[in-house]
Symmetry: C2
Amino acid sequence: MAEGLKVLSAALPADVKLETTEYDLGARLYHRTGETLPDAVLEELKDRDAILLGAIGDPSVPSGVLERGLLLKLRFAFDHHINLRPGKLFPGVKSPLAGDPQIDFVVVREGTEGPYVGNGGTLRAGTEQEVATEVSLNTAFGIERVVRDAYRRAQARPRKKLTLVHKNNVLVHAGHLWTRIFQEVGREFPEVTTDYLHVDAATIFFVTQPERFDVIVTDNLFGDILTDLAAAVTGGIGLAASGNINPTGAFPSMFEPVHGSAPDIAGQGKADPTATVLSVAMLLEHLGYTAEAAKVEAAVAADLAERTGARSTSEVGDALAARVSG
Amino acid sequence: MAEGLKVLSAALPADVKLETTEYDLGARLYHRTGETLPDAVLEELKDRDAILLGAIGDPSVPSGVLERGLLLKLRFAFDHHINLRPGKLFPGVKSPLAGDPQIDFVVVREGTEGPYVGNGGTLRAGTEQEVATEVSLNTAFGIERVVRDAYRRAQARPRKKLTLVHKNNVLVHAGHLWTRIFQEVGREFPEVTTDYLHVDAATIFFVTQPERFDVIVTDNLFGDILTDLAAAVTGGIGLAASGNINPTGAFPSMFEPVHGSAPDIAGQGKADPTATVLSVAMLLEHLGYTAEAAKVEAAVAADLAERTGARSTSEVGDALAARVSG
Ligand SMILES: CC(C)[C@H](C(=O)O)[C@@H](O)C(=O)O
Ligand SMILES: CC(C)[C@H](C(=O)O)[C@@H](O)C(=O)O
């Protein structure tokens, strides 16, 4: 996080004053107070221009507590319906895929619906008769806005190609709604070429033919799965950035690395800050600092192309900040 | 399918009489009668020892009709709760992954619950206010039987390692039920080493470290996604076999290639029958013909190790049958 802020400062024009507030949420707060996101913090966050979120998650906290109580709470409270995740293989970065694949796509993951709504329950908990449900909720309203956003992004890219990923042969209700809206909105974008893939088939193409993808639009859960796979084939989760975007501006958008908190190496100063720095580039872009965003991304690209030995977290941050200022 | 039956005949001991009945279901039947699986056929199938299913799916039939009306109907009617899918990279087969990964795991996918139950609905269909739901149903009973089966399989393998894959940090109700039962049943198998991965993280390991997996147990939908990815990294969907197993024997188990019907090359005699032949090996194994199953798998392994130019579907079938008889 410190390296991300370092690069952010370096990138901003001299006349822009950067004002930051740090909130120490996550495992520490939870153990001290039992809270994950105090109401007062949520209120204060509403007035910020943007949020930069460090990876959360800690083995000492039961699975789901921080995820639902902090990360997903923010995504839902601030209606982050566009979860944007580029899948780009930078020159010089080794992919686990053979050959030298050219990978440059972006996944537009829905962020506020689907199986993530937290609409589940348990009957006869702890018994041999336990039943647990999870309900995926999907609305025309929610799908239409993310699908339209994805078409706009596809329209703005050279290849102008948009792929819908779902599982409409099994999840027929949700799948048919996604498919209908995808087709309807598509009429407004005659220049965009479209296709459809079942999520299982999409994973195959991610490893056998990743160059076929340009923009992908998909459901919250499928997007979660596909973007980790995208990170893997583009050189690892250490480089994958993401934006949780509310394009209306009603609430601040939030930027975060896709990777987790890596508790095994926490505090040792060897985590790669690149994913956070690329998330800073997305933050700058979102706030209209397009040239500055491009500068940060270029700095990362140049750094990746020249990487040799291991460097500490702050060495990478310093190198990137120097490139951005230089 | 013809090649699968050819190899099945060749593999069976001389004193075993193979009796087969062919049902022409799928797109052709649907267009003629609107039916996908007539009740009379379902009744007849109950008395068979096993079912070998050819790939279904046809672009002329709306998505979901054959999947829900034929394939999933059979899986549910015959309570195929163990959906068994090996992920094995045979020597001589090229993986899209760099390096020469050693891949030999098996996914035990739950087959009768989760988001596949068909418990969804649509409100205000076709309008701007449409809402669509999909309910994932999970029972202690259903999870326990597949988890125990997976432990048994892990126990019987040299590495004795079992990984649970779910998304228990988001799908907390279903996820916690899976996790609880996984831990409880584990106490009966002290020799089995276990771990847990979120489904998104699992996809990363599938491409960066597939050798880490031995046996994987997972939910119906996650299993669907992971096994296509497994097929991709082990040389393609043309080689991936599967068994839909009801270990109680109350109903016939069903064996099928993981791949689809490939309508673009249907009838041209160039589809690779290997996945069907490997499914035949699983069928033989299931019916107790263990030596015969091993012979078929060995024939496939030998054939794959020596593959050079393109061969027709029947040439591959003939070669495999010859190896099995020889
Ligand atoms: C931590 C978890 C709740 C989260 C998700 O599932 O969305 C993460 O995997 C991600 O992709 O941002
Ligand atoms: C065809 C489809 C219904 C099926 C599934 O989703 O289970 C297939 O993808 C599979 O993996 O067998």
